[in-house]
């Protein structure tokens, strides 16, 4: 479980001006929930994830992951997928996926079994010995996801992980992510600027305001799992949710323009 209690974050820009990105955000993400955070650009979405992961400290307020207060260290069993490519180009796919287990000096047999299992899960079995530069963007995303899953994270933070992909690849990855989530049951917090993506995946969508940001809306997505991501857009519930969230988000965009 993740809780944010009146969290704020103020940056100091290079010119010395303080910028309040995160105003006052409180939220609770329950165990096993899939939450998407959407909001206008600059509202500190990534900052919130960074603070949950312990990469940055909040200016005020407290963050707890699994009951433990997050300080400067990365909380245990937390996975983080960045928008940027974080696959190591000098390792093969297998070596990349096994990296986390190497860090914890797991026995070789265990590492190999785990890699096999994850590659099957992510449909990468045939590319185990390939180097990242031989893979497509979508495949590299899968490798990054496998790298993270290898250390059995209970919490997964995803920072616009599919932002740079085309719709076709993206939809397939949505389907796979939902499958993996349903099989492994992590708590997921994902940031996206793509409202369709948010409603497709999440059990709850949180809408943040323009900076200094606060929570504007928490929309529970009532569409039951397992969801067929290829059919979802025809579902009238999907459209209703999109419209409800857009009403709030659109006003923010208008105000910012």
């Amino acid at each position: 479980m993740i809780t944010l209690n009146h969290v704020s974050k103020t940056y100091v820009t290079k010119t010395g001006e303080p910028v309040k990105a995160v105003g006052d955000v409180s939220m609770t993400v329950n165990k096993g929930e899939f939450v998407c955070i959407v909001g206008p650009s600059g509202c500190g979405k990534s900052t919130i994830l960074n603070m949950i992961a312990g990469f940055a400290a909040p200016t005020s307020g407290e963050i707890h992951v699994d009951g433990k207060r997050v300080t400067v260290d990365v909380p245990e069993s937390l996975g983080y997928i960045f928008q940027k490519d974080t696959v190591l180009p000098w390792y093969t796919v297998r070596q990349n996926v096994g990296l986390g287990l190497k860090f914890s000096q797991a026995p070789k047999g265990k590492i190999d079994r785990k890699i096999d299992k994850l590659l099957r899960l992510a449909h990468l079995t045939d590319c185990g010995d390939a180097y990242p530069h031989q893979l497509s963007g979508g495949m590299r995303r899968r490798v990054a996801l496998c790298m993270s899953l290898a250390v059995d994270p209970k919490v997964l933070l995803l920072d616009e992980p599919f932002g740079a992909l085309d719709t076709h690849t993206k939809t397939h990855l949505h389907s796979e992510l939902l499958e993996i989530w349903r099989e492994l049951g992590q708590t997921i917090v994902m940031i996206t600027h793509d409202l369709d993506e948010a409603v497709t995946l999440a059990s709850r969508v949180i809408v943040l305001s323009s900076p200094p940001s606060h929570t504007l809306l928490e929309e529970v997505i009532g569409i039951p799992y397992p969801r067929d991501v290829f059919e979802l857009r025809q579902n009238p519930q999907f459209t209703t949710h999109i419209q409800r969230v857009w009403k709030v988000l659109g006003n923010q965009f208008r105000a910012a323009a």
Binding site: A53, F55, V74, L78, G79, Y80, F82, Q83, K84, D85, T86, L88, P89, W90, Y91, L99, G100, K102, F103, S104, Y131, P132, H133, G137, R140, R141, A144, M147, S148, A150, V151, P153, G163, A164
Partner: protein
């Protein structure tokens, strides 16, 4: 992906013409034409040199005097003579130069790499040492050659120290830049995988830095060779530089050109050797993607 690994944006060394001479695997029609033109230019250049220095009027009234610029045929004959064993053999001199170059290069690359990585670990010390490094780097390094010769005497030690000195800074700067070019996201990602700072250093920072180090090696090789030959100019009784200063003393242009030719072949050979090693070690990098 939107972001490419740092290695793909390695600084291109405009100063190393050897690199552009790397053969490509798939010869195309254009490639053949390029090679033909290159050979033509070479033949034309050597042919003119040979013919013009053979004309008596030219010898008297222009620069085309074999006494000053020798002749390709004489140079080739001299190299052939030098390659034979015996009193005139070049091998001991070549070996002396090569040995000092290899040692200076090895020590220079190793120490430059180690210090580059080490300094990148501490923002504080990087800031403290910054002005000194800039000062040392912007002083022409060959200005230190007489001092080095004074300190380390005539001969082997001076040669190695000189080539170390010129190679070190080059490799150090590139490695330092490379180690700093590691993206924070990548480091943070590895932290979430449970990586401790030392593990991230070994598996992430050092490989990234190494790719940048490799990019500096063609220049490092030239620098090492230049350093050794310079030290041999200033004070030595062996080596290619010694042959060249001796030929200056005896006004022997053929010996000079023969030495220059041998040195340039040596330099190109070393760079090609490096490319082979690099292609094996950095096969994952974009530069070798189509090999």
């Amino acid at each position: 992906m939107s972001s490419e690994p740092a290695v793909q944006t390695l600084p291109q060394d405009a100063l190393s013409p050897q690199v552009s001479a790397t053969p490509q695997r798939k010869p195309s029609a254009g490639r053949v034409r390029v090679v033909v033109c290159q050979i033509l230019i070479l033949v034309l250049f050597l042919g003119l040199w040979e013919v013009l220095t053979g004309i008596q009027w030219m010898q008297k009234n222009s620069i085309f005097d074999p006494f000053f610029i020798s002749r390709p045929s004489l140079i080739a004959a001299r190299i052939w003579l030098w390659l034979q064993p015996g009193r005139n053999s070049i091998w001991p001199h070549l070996a002396a130069t090569l040995y000092a170059t290899g040692l200076g290069l090895g020590v220079g690359v190793t120490s430059g790499f180690a210090l580059g990585v080490a300094l990148a670990q501490s923002k504080f010390w990087a800031r403290v040492l910054n002005p000194f490094i800039i000062a040392l780097n912007s002083t022409p390094r060959i200005a230190f050659v007489p001092l080095i010769t004074m300190l380390f005497g005539l001969g082997f030690a001076s040669k190695v120290v000189t080539s170390w000195f010129v190679v070190f800074f080059l490799v150090f700067f590139n490695t330092y830049k490379g180690a700093n070019s590691v993206e924070q996201e990548l480091v943070n990602f590895c932290r979430t995988l449970g990586g401790r700072p030392m593990q991230i250093l070994w598996r992430v920072r050092i490989p990234t830095a190494a790719a940048w180090t490799f990019a500096s090696l063609p220049n490092a090789i030239s620098f090492a060779l230049i350093g050794v030959v310079l030290a041999e100019f200033v004070g030595s009784t062996t080596g290619m530089g010694y042959i060249m200063t001796t030929s200056l003393a005896t006004l022997n242009a053929t010996d000079m050109f023969a030495s220059i030719t041998i040195l340039s072949v040596l330099g190109v050979g070393l760079v090609y050797l490096l490319r082979a090693v690099e292609a094996r070690l950095l096969h994952w990098s974009a530069e070798f993607r189509n090999d």
